[in-house]
């Protein structure tokens, strides 16, 4: 792989109390690339995604073993400030979750939380982020209206704009289009394609065609293990392992 290594997961185990949800996962993520995580429900792909910005920290009795390096530094090191980490690794969730505030305030929120007070800077960053999220043209005349008035697809792009405003380096997406119609889904997918030039994107999706369309690399998880990872075009035309083939062709179970 010629691209720059952005994140590197090394021999990761994750436990929910005594249950081992992830077993010995090693996987690299490259700048400028989209990596899709696929696998059946309960395979650990979302748990894995949430390990990448320490979203699982709050789960009682959970435990992490192994290393996750961001630019060669372990994100689980005790010196790491989790809030700073999450400003570097943003997240977009399955269901759009805008705050019950104006469109402007939704995007400005992360900046304000991070202590930015310069109004011009905030206004510029809101415009820039809405543009990057391909939403600006649709909302520019009503950015002081409530975000809850937007359609589902627009709300999801707003959430992406909110994540982009604090200029993250990595964006994690947990089934970002599963609650959207095909047109809104297409917009999100086009957006991912645009954004990967600037960010490292890691996406969990149940929709295999979506993984095939948007990602450069696909990783297949099953029962807490990483079964196979390869370039997406290779994995979807000639996977190396039968287990992967059985899953992507729907022969499972």
């Amino acid at each position: 792989m010629d691209a720059d290594l952005k994140m590197s997961v090394k021999q990761l185990n994750f436990f929910y109390d005594k249950f081992k949800a992830l077993e010995n996962i090693s996987l690299d993520f490259y700048a400028g690339h989209v990596t899709a995580l696929i696998g059946p429900s309960g395979c650990g792909k979302s748990t894995f995604l949430r390990c990448l910005n320490r979203m699982n920290d709050l789960i009682p009795k959970s435990r992490v073993e192994g290393k996750i390096l961001l630019d060669n530094e372990d994100i689980y090191d005790c010196a790491v400030n989790v809030a700073t980490l999450r400003s570097r690794i943003g997240m977009v969730f399955q269901k759009p979750n805008p705050f019950p505030k104006t469109i402007f305030e939704n995007v400005a929120y992360g900046l304000r939380v991070n202590g930015i007070k310069d109004k011009t800077l905030i206004a510029d960053r809101v415009t820039e982020s809405l543009n990057q999220a391909a939403l600006w043209d649709e909302v520019k005349d009503r950015i002081y209206d409530s975000a809850l008035e937007l359609s589902g697809g627009q709300q999801q792009r707003l959430c992406i704009a909110r994540a982009l405003a604090i200029k993250p380096e990595v964006i994690l997406m947990d089934e970002p289009a599963s609650a959207l119609d095909p047109i809104a889904t297409q917009k999100i997918e086009e957006l991912i394609h645009q954004l990967k030039k600037m960010f490292t994107i890691i996406i969990v999706t149940h929709n295999m065609q979506q993984a095939a369309r948007v990602s450069d690399i696909t990783a297949f998880f099953y029962m807490g293990k990483l079964i196979e990872t390869d370039k997406t075009d290779t994995l979807f035309t000639r996977p190396k392992l039968k287990q992967t083939e059985d899953y992507i062709t729907g022969r499972f179970g």
């Binding site: 000639r238 992507i248 062709t249």
Partner: protein, 221 residues
């Protein structure tokens, strides 16, 4: 969903094998026609080619439907692509049988009766290649598929022999040139027929291994 797709793919396999059976039969008839210089057999081949053309269209339409509705991946995708390409090769083999029939028709009506070149060995090899390529497809037999690739060189060699011999004959009998050109063209048609059988074998290799072995080498990685 997946089981539904499997049923559709099974149906495709049956359809392409039915086409294969008909094409094999036409090739067999064409070879018989060469051996016996029989214009009646030739006429039957020419008249019935439309059946192959119609089946080819039907197979292609079904494949396109499956691609659009099921968006298959991995082995299912490779299978469907293989069927689309084999379908095309079978139809072209049918055309070669027609071409041979047209040559035989001319030869049969000619006043020249000498046989200047014995095509039986070349025809038998080409026919075996077609049969084996379809067997390799049915049984996913990669060794058999590779054997067909090797046989293609043997057919090419006989074609060169035919060229040399018939060229010599042309020098000796310039008044029979029309007849000899038609005789020579049969070697061309048999060679093309064998090429299409080779294509089918290559598709079988792609289906099994995911490697494209056309043009004499695996192009992937």
């Amino acid at each position: 969903m997946a089981r539904f797709l499997q049923k559709e793919l099974e149906k495709m396999k049956k359809m392409i094998l039915s086409l294969g059976t008909i094409v094999e039969e036409r090739v067999h008839m064409a070879i018989k026609a060469i051996e016996t210089k029989n214009a009646d057999i030739a006429a039957r081949i020419i008249q019935s080619d439309h059946e192959i053309d119609e089946m080819e269209v039907e197979v292609e339409e079904e494949c396109l439907k499956i691609l659009a509705l099921h968006q298959p991946v991995a082995v299912d995708l490779r299978f469907l692509i293989a069927v689309i390409k084999i379908n095309n090769d079978l139809e072209r083999i049918g055309d070669q049988a027609v071409n041979i029939a047209e040559r035989v028709d001319i030869l049969a009506k000619s006043k020249v009766h000498d046989v200047f070149f014995d095509y039986s060995q070349m025809a038998q090899k080409a026919e075996t290649m077609l049969k084996n390529s379809l067997d390799a497809f049915v049984n996913l037999d990669i060794d058999l598929a590779f054997e067909i690739l090797a046989m293609d060189d043997e057919v090419d060699n006989i074609k060169h022999e035919a060229y040399d011999l018939i060229k010599e004959e042309m020098k000796k009998q310039p008044d029979c040139i029309g007849y000899l050109i038609n005789l020579l063209l049969i070697s061309r048609h048999l060679e093309r027929l064998a090429d299409h059988a080779t294509n089918i074998a290559e598709e079988v290799i792609y289906l099994i291994e995911g490697d494209i072995v056309r043009h004499g080498k695996a192009l992937t990685d």
